[in-house]
Symmetry: D2
Subunit: 333 residues, 4 copies
């Protein structure tokens, strides 16, 4: 961390600031220029509050050189984290294929889709019971009843399940859920993150629509600071000015995060693009870019159903995607 | 709402869709073109799920013409909403000046600042007790203890108070709070919004960093759908590529929202810019653009304190802002 | 194109507008609602000025259903365009590998790099002679002299060459250049596009930093409207709030553009990410997503040279990328 | 400028780099940490190519502390620049009101509008002769003929004129033009900027849609590096995800630029918002925020004309805006 002091700072003021830094456990190197003095902070600066320092009247600017995240940081944990959940692995060469409908609609639907995606090679089943919707008038999910049906599908197929939580008070309902998803709109719901940090559940943490990779890793850090290190990051597109796609899928996040963190990274091409025809090419691209897995929306009867998004694949289309993804994975290994 | 059908849709498929639309309570006008058929939906389309319709295999595109929000919509409520809280009014010509420190730090601090800002003309006192911070290692606020101190400052000065909620479970602590703030990162925490919709508290709803005005009004709609119509919207900047300012303050949102909704709109120039020197010019601009109020960070001793943001004003600077804002308000009346 | 009229429009005003639309060669279907009248325009609406229509006092909104681009539109040209240039092909299953230094620095450098990349499988040589730089104080390229050296490298290796034009007045210097690049910052330099439309050169049109795919195709349309249909589109990242990468590479543009246009699409992972370590994974991802080619920065001596960007690969790294890209191409075919 | 070296850099490598920096005329302070060495560069670093340094294999990161612009920098030119053109002044307390139609359509139109806006208090007349349009099929302006008509309007009213240039080859036509406008899409057309730097014309430089304030000042620097210091900056909105407004007007750019540069800053609320009803509130806000002037689209007969944008005001509306703006200017003085 570099702290540039304003010109005119007195020796006393400077000494006081340096003393305070040293109390935080970092060493300070002073570099005096003609117009300004630069303090170089060496050591673990992750716990120093950047906003606080830059607010001081004697400070011109503060720039971080090392990252403010620590538990999630690859520098301190060079080996890839491998998540083991419900008999399947994610990360460190283990590729996850998470598939299922956007919303759980009925026992018949979820069990049929679960069987279909398992046959095609899915390693986990997804399905939404609590649905975050922009409008209060849109379908909000089957809630507790949906969770029950998802658990039945888990029993029927043996697939571990992934489903979204929107409220920490619902945690008791998630006892038999394998992976708890935190949606994009809750990525900075810090109260929820803290509660999840107290559990030992695997958390699938989606990237927020307006969040940098740094914000994202800081949200992972919230969960990890509580003691839960079982986190899978999920890239699902960011908000830009482009309107042909719902969001802009940021695949460069895969190799970039790979260098910054040891946590596994999966990609959701369905929500990122919002267009069924783009799911396959983006799934292939994610695999080629080094993702640790995919999360894909599959619906058994898109023509008839009213609740699938326009980005859902049929089981046949999904089967085709998995076969091609596997070819790409072989090619890049 | 306009629904464009794909070419090749059969008469039967079309009839079935029209029937379904009519069941939702809207009238359908069919316009047949050479290549495509357009269905024009007339009536209250706010409860039709756009995603759901666009997901149908026979539909090419769906475009809304009327807005999906209803309770917040000026079309159905032409008069400005005036919020009355703690003896003060916001909206419909009543200009609110909400001021106070980012974080409550001590009894001495909050009471001193409260007295200072009251003297300068503030109509409400703000102060953060529960602080949403990007990093788990940054100061998270004094929480319940902070709320107690804020209530003391309310008693001491008679100013109604505004403070942020991060967790619906904390609601009992907010019983004597006049205005509950929902922060930008929780704007789409729908579970929180629903709980606030069940209260009769005034809610100050901040705009999310990546949220359009439509998203924002839909979040207001969540609260209103629960029966609570006491909402103040607060513009605080959106995320863009610009780096000189923390966010980009979108002042055009003021007149735009004015035409879309009857709810009052206040502006927070402190968080939007992140730079103390920009607070005054942006406060003046907001007043000139027709805002119903301002929310400004004021700290009594920025030199000494470690917790104020770099955007805090001293009480003297704040006093200067209020005097100039009042001149602008007179000029534009 | 859908035109929604304001309520209160007289029958005469409406008839006049319909008459005017019909004069532009389109048919108009009228759909009368309780509150508003919708005009559906059928036929070739690409030449109707949307801004102009929406400016009329009797019009509430205008929404395009068909695209405003025509020559670039796949609807009217279902077959993929295959560009043939200097003995090599791009598009329709022909994968281009364009490689070379950001800037031409010396005869030795450009010829050495040209030989290196040819050996590894490059199908074209790139090299900048005229360099658009954000700062007037940064190196602006070797200009005419650089072009001469690039032509020497072309002779020495037989590779067709790609180089950027910044000024239509320089066109005579580009007579022996195979592919003329239009940089991101000139994507909407319409005067330049018009001049290039009068030539029969192949144009590599980079996407602008803040441009939607629609803007981009409209810029291609500028060139095509002049009679030159030899265009290669090049995705190179868009500007977002993310700061770890220079820009955000939008790979979903590949399949999206594939459905919208018949023009070939290549990807430049070097400029998009600005980080050498991200070039290989993004090159693999682009190949998997169905790109028609890649454009990659290669420098023969990054350690010594002062002018390569931090995103340049060494010839050895480039060789590795090509071998892996070829494997991915096989896997997805 | 701070240069952080990679760990493992040899003493020789470091010495060589320091030597090179010193050759560029800057002093280097070395700060050695446990894990990394930081070089602090002191002096005029504006001519050091940041990309070039960060490309070096021994460099981890480079961060600028001082700005890369010099001629435009307030630090080196503390006094406000006042532009004098055609008998009117802009900057340093002189408020410019530039008004006129988007496009020049006829002698009658431009002269009528010119008289109207002059009567209301406009200090300059604007009118587009060369029009940059996204589509090649949209109206491209009356070109040379339009310029002739604009010069007639100048003679008739005595108002200095502002009009856009799209091609440096057209410069001879602009001999009697008082202020030459560079449009947003040409803000980084560096060849055009260089040519304008050789003239002594006043240049109105609009901000690009995806350009930071730093980019913008670097573009001003291009013109100034050529010797022409007569530049007016014009904020006209940036591209964001918001869709209710055409662009997002960034009014915080006014006070931010005020601290960074001595050049005058005007605001174009018409193009920024694209909505006539937002022009007045945004004009008032710009005046309150400290702008040096406004640029407003005015059309004499929006109902009849086909070429005005939906953001044009009638002369009556414009008159109302000017009267209110003057009241705000008085209030903030």
């Amino acid at each position: 961390m570099i702290t540039v002091l304003k010109s005119g700072v007195t020796t006393e003021q400077r000494a006081k600031l340096i003393e305070w830094f040293e109390e935080q456990g970092v060493k300070v190197h002073v570099s005096e220029g003609e117009y300004q003095t630069v303090l170089g902070l060496v050591g673990d600066t992750s716990k120093i509050d950047e906003d606080l320092v830059s607010a001081l009247s004697i400070v011109e600017t503060v720039k971080r050189i090392s990252e403010p995240f620590k538990n999630a940081n690859r520098k301190f944990h060079p080996d890839n984290t491998i998540i083991e959940v419900g008999g399947t692995k994610v990360g460190g060469g283990n590729f996850a294929i998470i598939a299922g409908p956007c919303s759980i609609e009925s026992r018949e639907q979820i069990i049929e889709v679960a069987n279909d995606v398992k046959k095609s090679g899915a390693t986990m089943l997804r399905g939404g019971a609590f649905k975050p919707r922009t409008s209060p008038y849109d379908f909000q999910g089957m809630k507790g009843e949906g969770l029950e049906l998802l658990l039945e599908a888990k029993k029927a197929t043996g697939l571990p399940i992934v489903t979204e939580i929107m409220n920490a008070n619902h945690l008791p309902l998630f006892e038999d859920v394998d992976v708890i998803q935190v949606g994009a709109r809750n990525m900075q719901n810090f109260e929820l993150l803290k509660e999840l940090g107290k559990t030992n559940k695997t958390i699938l943490l989606k990237r927020g629509l307006a969040n940098t990779m740094k914000d994202w890793l800081m949200s992972a850090e919230y969960i990890m600071a509580g003691g839960n290190e079982n986190i899978i990051l999920c890239e699902r597109g960011i908000r830009t000015f482009e309107t042909y796609t719902r969001n802009t899928l940021d695949l460069s996040a895969i190799p970039m995060l790979r260098s910054l963190t040891h946590l596994p990274i999966v990609v959701d091409p369905s929500h990122a693009t919002g267009v069924a025809a783009l799911v396959e090419p983006m799934a292939l691209a994610a695999a080629a870019a080094g993702a640790d897995g995919l999360m894909i929306e599959v619906h058994n009867n898109p023509q008839k159903a009213l609740c699938d998004g326009p980005q859902s694949l049929t089981p046949e289309q999904f089967d085709h995607v998995v076969r091609r993804v596997n070819k790409v994975l072989e090619a890049v290994r």
